[in-house]
């Protein structure tokens, strides 16, 4: 059990690619922190620096109260679950689990106890004498988890461990990882590009973009108060609707007085699809914003549908969440409404929240 502390960590690869541009982050003891960001933003690089698989160009990384910059991966007391599982193909599952313990010269009784315990916890007891090649993807995933568990390390590092699984299994394993982590209370750093995975797993969500932290906070905090345009569009599906605010307001949008006044820097307004509703045939309610939309398409998810429409005069496209099944025809003109309380404002120049 330990805290992980990153101070102004940078990574410049051979050839000058700056993959991580000064990241400071503190992972509390027992916390589950998820690093999320688009492909190439430096998530894996950051995780691999914590693991010791990649050198640190500048800054410090501490695990517990030791600075680990110069320590070998084995000396950092961490365990890692790889995206491709990285199981040793020529060893049985049992040997895979034992490998890290034997290398540490642990007593054989203790090794057997830990392997049994992990096998029970992950329900892989029946697979112990098989080789990785004889397992399904989901089973391999469990074994990879098991290999990390038996080590009883100070911290778990996960690099997109679920991305090779099918959708159903992914949801199941996600819940399982969460349950295990809650139970073991081992500090965990988890990398993913799947925002749904990030939202559901994290105690603290860290959104990375181009080697920098855009925002860190609890998933709901990040969702409800995105610190930047990038976070606003990255977290949430479909993405937040963005409306660039011009000098004369926004064509097709009527809003209560003063809401769209152009004082201060150029702004972009944001509103999430679920905070909008179709209001066709309703009389406008006081204090509400009203959108005049031409429907471009409907996406039926099942429990809900998303109606997409554009504002007039070549305005932006917005999505409106509708409960249940919606059968609006494309081309129809519709009114939609939203409560200004849910409006987000961003400085268009810097992208930061106002």
């Amino acid at each position: 059990m330990a805290k992980i502390e990153l101070k102004d960590v940078r990574k410049v690869y051979h050839g000058g690619v700056e993959a991580v541009k000064g990241v400071s982050l503190s992972v509390e003891d027992g916390a589950f922190v998820v690093l999320v960001g688009p492909s190439g933003c430096g998530k894996s690089t950051l995780l691999r620096m914590v693991a010791g698989l990649e050198s640190i160009s500048s800054g410090t990384i501490a695990i517990g109260d030791r600075v680990v910059n110069e320590l070998e991966p084995a000396e950092r007391d961490i365990a890692m679950v790889f995206q491709n599982y990285a199981l040793y193909p020529h060893m049985t599952v049992r040997k895979n689990l034992e490998y890290g313990l034997k290398n540490r010269k642990m007593a054989s009784g203790e090794i057997a106890r830990r392997v049994d315990e992990a096998a029970k916890m992950l329900e892989i007891g029946a697979l112990l004498d098989r080789r990785p090649g004889q397992l399904s993807g989901g089973q391999r995933q469990r074994v990879a988890m098991g290999r990390a568990l038996v080590r009883e390390p100070a911290a778990f590092l996960f690099d997109e461990p679920l991305s090779n699984l099918d959708a159903k299994l992914r949801v199941q394993m996600r819940a399982e990882i969460r349950r295990l982590q809650r139970r073991l209370k081992t500090t965990s750093l988890y990398v993913t590009h799947d925002q749904l995975e990030a939202m559901t797993l994290a105690d603290t969500l860290v959104v990375l973009n181009a080697g920098r932290i855009e925002q860190a906070g609890s998933p709901m905090e990040v969702y409800e108060r995105p610190a930047s345009l990038f976070v606003a569009t990255f977290i949430g599906s479909p993405a937040m609707n963005l409306l660039p605010l011009g000098a004369g307001g926004i064509a097709g949008l009527t809003a209560p007085d003063g809401l769209l006044s152009g004082a201060g820097p150029a702004k972009t307004l944001g509103i999430r699809p679920e905070h909008m509703r179709l209001a066709d045939g309703e009389a406008p309610r006081p204090g509400e914003m009203r959108f005049d939309l031409t429907v471009t398409g409907v996406e039926v998810v099942g429990a809900e549908s998303f109606v997409y429409g554009t504002l007039p005069e070549g305005g932006p496209e917005v999505a409106v969440r509708v409960a249940g099944y919606s059968h609006v025809e494309p081309g129809t003109r519709l009114a939609a409404a939203a409560d200004p309380a849910y409006l987000h404002r961003f400085d268009r120049e810097t992208g930061r929240r106002i």
Binding site: H14, G52, F82
Partner: protein, 293 residues
């Protein structure tokens, strides 16, 4: 596999013909000739020959020179294969670690393969010839009594080194490819699992490249058996006192120098049997322990 159906009944045989012809001309025909020859006894002038059954074989197998040659062949082949493979593997792992100039380093290591065996033999002959070789001079300067023309063990050492040197490039190429096919994440996982780099090599990398090692073992043994004639001929000529006379060399020597065609053919047949047996054993027993990932 899907069966191809040809509308023409002659075409398939025509397509097959070149391959079959080559195999017949270059393998079955000489092999059957050797078998036939091995039962004949010919006079030194090649004027008449008579059928003697297995007499050539009993003579060959009862000959202490022949048994010596078997011993020489075993020592030579095992040493050459082991030396060539061990050095190549060492160089390949070193090449993995090179960051700058990787391509250059690899290219340089591949070149010796382009050198013909006899030329390779000559190179070593010149370097280690007791009367004019640079290395021979250095060795003697260092107080070592170097004379492979008189000392059988030294002669053996010299041909082994020359033969292995020639084969290192080939092995190197295969080992480099094999090492590259070991996923990096496995090695990283092992590093996190607390294995030192030596331990990672022997417990993860080496087992995973075992199929390549096995393949090279077969190739190198066959090479040491058959393709080293040129090297031995150039460096020692089978001497001194037959200390480096391998089975293949003896076939040549008895047949073409001493003109004992029947005996030479009998040796060829035995050699053929040895190779078939060797390959069968390798595939049957060694391969079973090899894990193909």
């Amino acid at each position: 596999m899907q069966k191809a159906v040809f509308p023409n009944r002659v075409l398939p045989y025509l397509l097959l013909a070149p391959q079959v012809a080559i195999t017949i001309v270059f393998f079955y025909w000489p092999a059957s000739q050797a078998l036939y020859q091995s039962m004949l006894k010919e006079d030194p002038f090649g004027l008449k020959s008579k059928f003697v059954g297995l007499q050539n074989f009993t003579q060959v197998l009862g000959n202490p020179d022949y048994l010596n040659s078997v011993r020489v062949t075993v020592v030579f082949s095992v040493s050459t294969a082991v030396l060539a493979m061990a050095l190549a593997l060492f160089l390949a792992t070193a090449a993995e670690k090179v960051v700058r100039g990787k391509g250059f380093y690899r290219t340089m290591l591949i070149w010796p393969y382009a050198v013909a065996p006899a030329v390779a033999g000559l190179l070593f002959l010149f370097m280690f010839n007791p009367s004019m070789g640079t290395f021979a001079y250095l060795l003697r300067d260092a107080g070592y009594r170097w004379n492979p023309l008189l000392d059988g063990d030294q002669a053996m050492l010299l041909v082994v080194v020359a033969a292995a040197w020639k084969q290192i490039s080939y092995n190197f190429l295969f080992f480099v490819a094999a090492l590259q096919s070991v996923p990096r994440s496995l090695i990283e996982a092992a590093a996190i699992d607390g294995a030192s780099s030596t331990k990672r090599f022997w417990t993860i990398v080496f087992p995973l490249i075992a199929p390549t090692t096995f393949f090279l073992l077969v190739v190198n043994t066959v090479y040491a058996f058959f393709d080293t004639f040129g090297i031995i001929d150039a460096v020692t000529g089978g001497g001194p006192a037959q200390a480096t006379q391998t089975l293949v060399y003896k076939v040549y020597n008895d047949g073409f120098v001493n003109l004992d065609l029947g005996g030479s053919a009998a040796q060829s047949v035995i050699l053929m049997a040895i190779v078939i047996a060797l390959t069968a054993i390798q595939f049957r027993y060694v391969e079973k322990r090899v894990h193909y990932a």
